[in-house]
């Protein structure tokens, strides 16, 4: 009993000290005012406008994708509204040659990295041509297996490093994804090799129905990077300026050889988990929804840009109309994709010569499909 009083150690205090260090980094508040002038990335007027255009475009793409899905004209779709700043401002800090390993919700970043829209639609429908990435575009198709992209990102980063390529790799997962073993392994490998990787955790509060508090006892997800010895930061994921600034900084350090960074973007997904039957009213209230709607990244950025005379209704409508038209055209283009055949699948099964079993089946199906 007495020994307990004299104890010289307190592992709990270390935990608390670390947790307290993770304050949420913000530049633009909910009213569209700069609250952290020193950290303002000072984007040019054109850049600010371009980032806003991308976010508005993506919100429309989200709305249209949901509608198209309901009409049966798209397949798998994971809504993105609420995550525009997290997705697009982080991507905006990248260069063309940087590599993206996305999760299933990260289609907007791929599109602005150069993936033709109709291919994103084909991917959604489950057409193999949606994954035939154009030459020179440094992306992978969206990953379905949660966490797999994290370890692969560590590999791409090491590849860049060994080749002396001055590029970085960026990968995304959700709050739930931080529970996977691959998440820790990816961070640890990139940390151990000091590879140029940026790990983004989009903390949209829920993994399907499971709230973050059930996911982990850790107060923040960013602090998980500390265990791997890599710089980590918690950022307001609905603040495009803050997300951009921390990603830009992470990129610069990665390119300089200072290793990986973990960025937790605190955000929200307004819609269901995916369009395949998830009903968010089973696990969250409209109160939570409306509380997060107040922090909407688009509303906030619009206010800021309007105060600088960079944005108005007309501009916004222009983007909306352009988005709608491009989506319409892309759907048409996707509709023209050829019907998939088993012989197509057999053809892409192996690189190089077909093994005998595949060749044999190829012949059988060629005949079957010619009828």
């Amino acid at each position: 009993m007495a020994a307990e009083k004299n104890k010289q150690f307190d592992p709990t205090s270390v935990l608390h000290e670390i947790e307290e260090k993770f304050e949420m980094f913000q530049i633009l508040n909910e009213d569209g005012k700069i609250v952290n002038k020193e950290s303002d990335p000072n984007l040019s007027d054109e850049q600010l406008t371009e980032l806003m255009e991308r976010m508005v475009y993506t919100r429309i793409l989200d709305q249209r994708s949901i509608a198209l899905n309901r009409q049966g004209r798209l397949g798998f779709y994971a809504p993105t509204a609420g995550q525009e700043a997290s997705q697009l401002a982080s991507h905006y800090a990248l260069e063309k040659d940087d590599f993206i390993l996305p999760g299933y919700r990260d289609v907007p970043q791929l599109i602005f990295h150069g993936l033709p829209l109709h291919m994103a639609f084909l991917w959604s429908r489950g057409h193999f041509l949606g994954s035939e990435i154009p030459e020179g575009l440094n992306i992978f198709p969206p990953q379905i297996i949660i966490g797999a992209q994290y370890v692969q990102a560590a590999g791409v980063a090491l590849g860049f490093q060994k080749r002396g390529t001055k590029s970085v790799v960026m990968t995304y997962t959700g709050d739930g994804g931080t529970s996977q073993g691959d998440f820790y392994e990816g961070l640890n490998f990139a940390g151990a090799f000091r590879s140029p990787a940026i790990f983004v955790v989009q903390n949209n509060q829920f993994a399907i129905s499971t709230p973050r508090e059930v996911q982990t006892a850790a107060k923040t997800l960013a602090q998980k990077g500390i265990a791997a010895g890599i710089p980590s930061i918690l950022v307001d994921g609905m603040d495009p300026l803050a997300v951009y600034a921390v990603t830009k900084d992470a990129r610069e350090r990665a390119v300089k050889g200072d290793g990986p960074t973990l960025i937790e973007t605190m955000c929200y997904r307004y819609g269901p988990h995916t369009m395949a039957g998830d009903d968010p009213t089973r696990y969250r209230t409209s109160d939570i929804d409306s509380e997060w709607e107040k922090r909407d990244p688009i509303v906030r950025f619009r206010l800021y840009l309007e105060s600088k005379n960079l944005w108005n209704e007309e501009k916004e409508n222009e983007v909306i109309e352009r988005a709608k038209q491009e989506i319409k055209d892309a759907i048409k283009q996707a509709d023209q994709a050829p019907k998939q055949k088993v012989t197509d699948f057999l053809k892409i099964m192996y690189t190089g010569d077909m093994p005998y079993n595949v060749q044999e089946q190829f012949d059988i199906y060629t005949e079957k499909e010619s009828k």
Partner: protein
């Protein structure tokens, strides 16, 4: 008796065992409040509390290890693997650890774990959700692998799985979840693991199959009957261990057999069934045993799966080859 869908029968089986045995625990991703992404655990948390029915963090390897640890402290874990394509994430716990529990403890310890998981094609899921990976677990000694094809069987088999002292993989074909209803008794009943069921009797040809292909095979059998062929359809129900007795008795009666599986040709159970027939009943055969399977590719993404999956027509065509040999 109530008319239940297969998923309702599965829920009912878990409810029955949660009631009967306080050591039964049900857990996995989203199984609690949400009742599972397919609603297989709907209402169970409400009825039995968060101590017995609970959500886990998102990590299959963690869930599998948790199940083994809980089993070692006397619980009977019923874990849900949200989709069977996530087997790879928990493969070490399943094939590498749980399966060897009895063997590596010289028969002293056991792992009475039930791993439930949806799988199977034709419902347009994303990548890695529909794949037929049953061959990977059936190839592992120490595991039992069950695949029901009807609501009645699902309840009786799942109760047996939960009561079994060994790790049991219980695979639920997504297409069968809500495709039809059947009378399912309210009380507890069991169907022994390792026992096949003759779903249709016949004298000219045996179709040996499991999972969603049972329905396709029954359709094929009907079509063949119109052409004057009497076809027997055997639903394996448990694919590891195989009910060799029922298979051989059928083949000895009909003298002809085909084996049908949804999995790729190189990946499933059909090859095992053919081997058993060759070793035990070759002299009864009047024709080679043929297989109907998917081709040897990765499971195609949603829009391509219907051209890829085996269908009743394919079964009829292969059956005719054997009948007319």
């Amino acid at each position: 008796m109530a008319q239940l869908t297969m998923i309702q029968a599965i829920t009912d089986a878990m409810r029955t065992e949660l009631k009967n045995d306080e050591n039964v625990l049900v857990f996995g991703e989203d199984v609690g409040k949400n009742g599972g992404v397919f609603r297989a655990t709907e209402g169970l948390q409400k009825e039995f509390g968060e101590e017995r029915v609970f959500d886990t963090p998102l990590a299959e390897s963690g869930i599998g290890g948790l199940a083994i640890g809980l089993a070692l402290t006397g619980y009977r874990p019923v874990m849900e693997l949200q989709f069977f394509g996530f087997l790879f994430e928990v493969m070490d716990s399943v094939n590498g650890q749980a399966a060897r529990m009895s063997f590596r403890s010289a028969g002293k310890l056991n792992a009475p774990i039930t791993i439930r998981s949806p799988f199977g094609g034709g419902v347009a899921t994303p990548e890695m959700h529909a794949d037929s990976l049953e061959g990977l677990v059936a190839a592992q000694p120490g595991l039992k692998v069950v695949i029901p094809s009807t609501p009645y069987d699902a309840k009786g088999l799942l109760i047996s799985a939960i009561k079994d002292e060994n790790p049991v993989i219980f695979l639920e074909h997504m297409k069968l979840y809500r495709s039809f209803r059947q009378e399912v008794p309210e009380e507890e009943y069991t169907i022994p693991l390792g026992k096949a069921d003759v779903k249709r009797e016949g004298t000219d040809l045996s179709i040996i199959t499991y999972g969603a292909m049972v329905q396709e095979s029954l359709k094929a059998a009907e079509a063949l009957e119109k052409d004057g062929h009497s076809v027997e359809v055997i639903d394996l129900r448990t694919i590891q261990p195989l009910d060799v007795e029922t298979i051989i008795a059928s083949v000895e009666k009909t003298n002809r057999a085909i084996v049908v599986q949804e999995a790729q040709r190189q990946a499933g159970i059909a090859a095992n069934v053919v081997s058993e027939i060759m070793e035990r009943a070759v002299l009864s055969l009047e024709a080679p045993v043929l297989r109907v399977t998917a081709p040897d590719t990765i499971y195609p993404f949603a829009q391509g799966e219907n051209t890829w999956l085996p269908k009743a027509d394919d079964i009829v065509a292969t059956a005719k080859k054997v009948l007319e040999f």
